[in-house]
C-alpha cells in the first residue's frame, strides 16, 4: 500500500524546494527552470490526449504557439497589455483551434489521426510563416510582459524573473491538481476506458467522440496557457513555436517521463531539457546525440524513466495504482502470424 505520508509529504517538499530556488540559484537557472515548467505544462496537457486518451496528437505545439501569437498581436508596442484581457483571449483562440482541429481529426483513427493532426499543425505553421500576420518567418516581439493590475495598481510584476518563476510554479501546481481531479473523475475514467477498449466503451453507452473532443479542447486550452506565458517569457514569437518538431519533442517528454501519470511528462521535460543543457555545453552537434538518445529510449526503455527506475531500484519506485509499464510484446515482423495488434481500430 502506498505510504500516504509519501503521497502527501513528498510533493509538498518538492514544491517548497522549488519555491526556494530563486533564493539559492543565479538568475540564469531561475529562468531556465521557468522554461522547463512551462514546457512541462505543455507536455502534461498533451498527455491528457496521448497517455490518457490514447490518441497520438502531433499538433499540440500549434495550440501553444497560437496563444503566444495571440498575445503578441494583442500587445501594443508602447506598453504592456493587460493580462486579464489577453490571457482569456489567447486561451480562447487555442481552445477554438483545438475544437476545429479536433472536430475534424477525431473523425479519423489510428495512423490517419497522427497524420491529420500533423498536417493541421503545419497548416497553422504556414499561416504564420507565409503571411505577414505577425512578421512572417521573422516572428514578432512582445516588448513588455503582460501587466497584472487592478484599477492601475500592479499586483504582480512579471518583468521580474523571480516573480515570473513563482507564477510559473504556481501554474504548475494548479495544473497538476486540475489534471489529477480530471483524470480521477468519471470523465477521466471514461476517457481511459475509450482508450483501453473503444468498442466496449461505446457499447456501454459512452459518447466516445464527445469525450475525446472534450479532452482535446481542454488539452488545447491548457497548452494555450503554457504558450501564453512562454511567449511572455521569451518576449518573442516565431512560427517554429507552432512547428511539428516542437510537437514531436513534447511527445518525447511525455514518453520519457511516463504516459500513465499526470506528472510523468513534467519529469520528462525536466530530464530532456536538462539533458539538452548538458549536451549543448559539450558539442554544437548536440541534436545528433539527442536523436540517438531518443532512438535508444524507443528501443531499450519504452516505458521511459519509469522503466529505468524500475530496473535500477526495483518496485519501490512504482506507485501501487500504476500498472507496470506494459511489457512490449516482442516485435512481430510482417509476415509472421500476427499476434500483436497495432491498430486501435476495429472492423
Amino acid at each position: 500500500m502506498a505510504n500516504p505520508m509519501k503521497q502527501k509529504v513528498l510533493p509538498l517538499l518538492l514544491v517548497a524546494l522549488a519555491a526556494a530556488l530563486p533564493f539559492l540559484a543565479p538568475t540564469y537557472y531561475v529562468q531556465f527552470s521557468t522554461r522547463v515548467f512551462l514546457l512541462g505544462l505543455l507536455a502534461m496537457s498533451l498527455n491528457l490526449v496521448v497517455g490518457f486518451g490514447g490518441l497520438v496528437s502531433m499538433c499540440h505545439a500549434a495550440f501553444f504557439g497560437l496563444a503566444g501569437y495571440a498575445l503578441a498581436l494583442a500587445s501594443p508596442q508602447s506598453g504592456p497589455a493587460s493580462l486579464w484581457l489577453t490571457l482569456p483571449l489567447a486561451v480562447g483562440v487555442a481552445a477554438l483551434a483545438a475544437l476545429a482541429i479536433g472536430g475534424l481529426s477525431l473523425r479519423t483513427r489510428g495512423i490517419y489521426f497522427i497524420m491529420v493532426t500533423l498536417a493541421f499543425g503545419e497548416m497553422l505553421f504556414f499561416l504564420f510563416h507565409d503571411t505577414q500576420i505577425a512578421g512572417g518567418s521573422d516572428g514578432a516581439y512582445i516588448y513588455f510582459k503582460p501587466e497584472v493590475a487592478i484599477a492601475g495598481v500592479p499586483l504582480i510584476d512579471l518583468e521580474n524573473p523571480r516573480t515570473f518563476y513563482w507564477v510559473a510554479l504556481g501554474l504548475l501546481v494548479v495544473f497538476v491538481m486540475l489534471l489529477k481531479a480530471l483524470t480521477n473523475s468519471a470523465f477521466g475514467h471514461a476517457l481511459v476506458a475509450a482508450r483501453n477498449n473503444e468498442r466496449r466503451a461505446r457499447s456501454l453507452g459512452f459518447p466516445i467522440f464527445r469525450i475525446r473532443l472534450t479532452a482535446f479542447v481542454i488539452s488545447g486550452a491548457l497548452a494555450g496557457i503554457a504558450g501564453y506565458f512562454a511567449a511572455a517569457q521569451y518576449g518573442f514569437v516565431a512560427p517554429q513555436l507552432l512547428g511539428w518538431h516542437l510537437s514531436a519533442t513534447i511527445l518525447v517528454m511525455v514518453v520519457l517521463g511516463g504516459m500513465r501519470t499526470v506528472t510523468g511528462p513534467l519529469i520528462g521535460a525536466v530530464v530532456l531539457l536538462g539533458l539538452e543543457e548538458v549536451l549543448k555545453a559539450l558539442t554544437e552537434h548536440w541534436k545528433l546525440i539527442e536523436g540517438l538518445i531518443v532512438i535508444a529510449i524507443v528501443l531499450v526503455l519504452p516505458g521511459g524513466v519509469q522503466d529505468l527506475a524500475d530496473r535500477v531500484f526495483g518496485s519501490a519506485t512504482r506507485r501501487v495504482d500504476e500498472p507496470r509499464s506494459r511489457p512490449e510484446k516482442p516485435a512481430v515482423p510482417p509476415g509472421e502470424p500476427a499476434a500483436a495488434t497495432r491498430e486501435v481500430e476495429h472492423a
Binding site: 479519423t108 497522427i114 498536417a119 503545419e122 514531436a248 552537434h285 540517438l292 524507443v298 509476415g335 509472421e336
Partner: protein, 290 residues
C-alpha cells in the same frame, strides 16, 4: 490566365504531382505492407538531393549521382531495416513516430556536419537541357518532361512488380493474409528488408530528380514529408492507386494555388485535405465502413 500559361501550369502541376507520387508511394508501401510509420521519409528525400549535389559537384555527372544515390539509399535502407525497423513491427504508432523522429534529428545533424546549412543547386544534365517549344513564344523545359516520364515509368514498374512478379505476389499475399503465407513457407524477413529499402530509395529518388528543378535546401525534407502524408491520407493508406490520385490532386492544387493565392498556397493544400476528410474519413480509396 490565357490558355498557354494554363497549359504550362498544368504541366508543372502534373510534374510536381508525379514527383509527390514517387515519394508518397514509398511512404504508403512502407506503411501498408510493413505497418510502420516513418516520419524520416522526408529526411531521406532531402538526403537524396544533397547526395545528388555532392556527387555532381565532384564528378560533374548527374547520371552517376542518380545511380550512386539510389545505391546508397538502397544500402542504407537495408541496414536501417536490419538494425532498427525490424524491432518496430507490431509496436504501437507512438513508438514508431518517436523512433523516426530520432532518425530525423540524427540525419539533420549529419547533413549539417557534411554539408552545412547551405543552399545548393544542381545543374541539369546536358542531355536533358533546353526546352521544347510549345508556341512561338512559349517553351517547356525538357528536363521537367523527362522527370514526369521518369516518375510514370517508376509507377508502371511498381505496378508491374506488384501485379506480375513472384515477389509482388508474396508482398500482396503477405498484406492480405500473413498466417497463410507464412504457413506456405515464404520467408518474410528478406522481403521486409527489400520493401523498406525500396521505400527509402523512392524517397531519395524524389530528391535526386527534383534537385535540378528546385534548390537543395535543409528544410526541403519537412515540406515534402507533410505533403506526402497529406497525399497518403487523401488516397488511403496502403493504396498506391490512391496515392497517385492524391498526389495529382495535391500537385495541381499546390501549383495553381501558388498562381492564384501565392501567400495562401500551402494552406490551400491542407484545406483540401480537411474537405476530403469530411467526406471520406479513411481517404478517397480507403476502407469505407468505419
Amino acid at each position: 490566365m490565357d490558355f498557354l500559361t494554363f497549359a504550362v501550369q498544368l504541366l508543372n502541376g502534373v510534374q510536381y504531382g508525379l514527383v509527390l507520387f514517387l515519394v508518397a508511394s514509398g511512404l504508403t508501401l512502407v506503411f501498408g505492407i510493413l505497418g510502420v510509420i516513418n516520419l524520416a521519409h522526408g529526411a531521406f528525400y532531402m538526403l537524396g538531393a544533397y547526395v545528388a549535389y555532392w556527387i555532381t559537384s565532384y564528378t560533374g555527372s548527374f547520371w552517376l549521382a542518380l545511380l550512386g544515390g539510389v545505391a546508397i539509399a538502397f544500402v542504407v535502407g537495408l541496414l536501417l531495416e536490419n538494425v532498427f525497423i525490424r524491432r518496430m513491427y507490431g509496436r504501437d504508432h507512438l513508438a514508431q513516430v518517436l523512433l523516426s523522429f530520432g532518425f530525423i534529428l540524427v540525419i539533420d545533424e549529419v547533413r549539417q556536419i557534411l554539408f552545412g546549412k547551405d543552399v545548393h543547386s544542381v545543374a541539369t544534365p546536358d542531355f536533358l537541357r533546353g526546352s521544347i517549344p510549345l508556341t512561338d513564344v512559349l517553351s517547356y523545359p525538357v528536363y521537367r518532361l523527362a522527370v514526369s516520364l521518369f516518375c510514370l515509368a517508376i509507377a508502371a514498374a511498381i505496378f508491374f512488380v506488384i501485379r506480375y512478379t513472384r515477389i509482388g505476389m508474396i508482398v500482396r499475399a503477405g498484406a492480405e493474409n500473413r498466417e497463410m503465407t507464412r504457413a506456405l513457407g515464404i520467408r518474410f524477413d528478406a522481403v521486409n528488408r527489400y520493401v523498406f529499402a525500396v521505400g527509402i530509395v523512392l524517397a531519395a529518388l524524389g530528391g535526386i530528380v527534383i534537385a535540378p528543378i528546385s534548390t537543395v535546401y535543409p528544410g526541403m525534407g519537412d515540406s515534402m514529408l507533410i505533403l506526402s502524408f497529406v497525399v497518403v491520407v487523401l488516397g488511403g493508406i496502403g493504396s498506391v492507386a490512391g496515392a497517385a490520385i492524391g498526389a495529382l490532386l495535391i500537385g495541381l492544387a499546390d501549383t495553381f494555388g501558388k498562381v492564384f493565392f501565392p501567400t495562401f498556397s500551402s494552406i490551400t493544400v491542407y484545406l483540401l485535405m480537411a474537405l476530403v476528410l469530411l467526406w471520406r474519413p479513411n481517404g478517397i480509396l480507403g476502407k469505407r465502413e468505419v
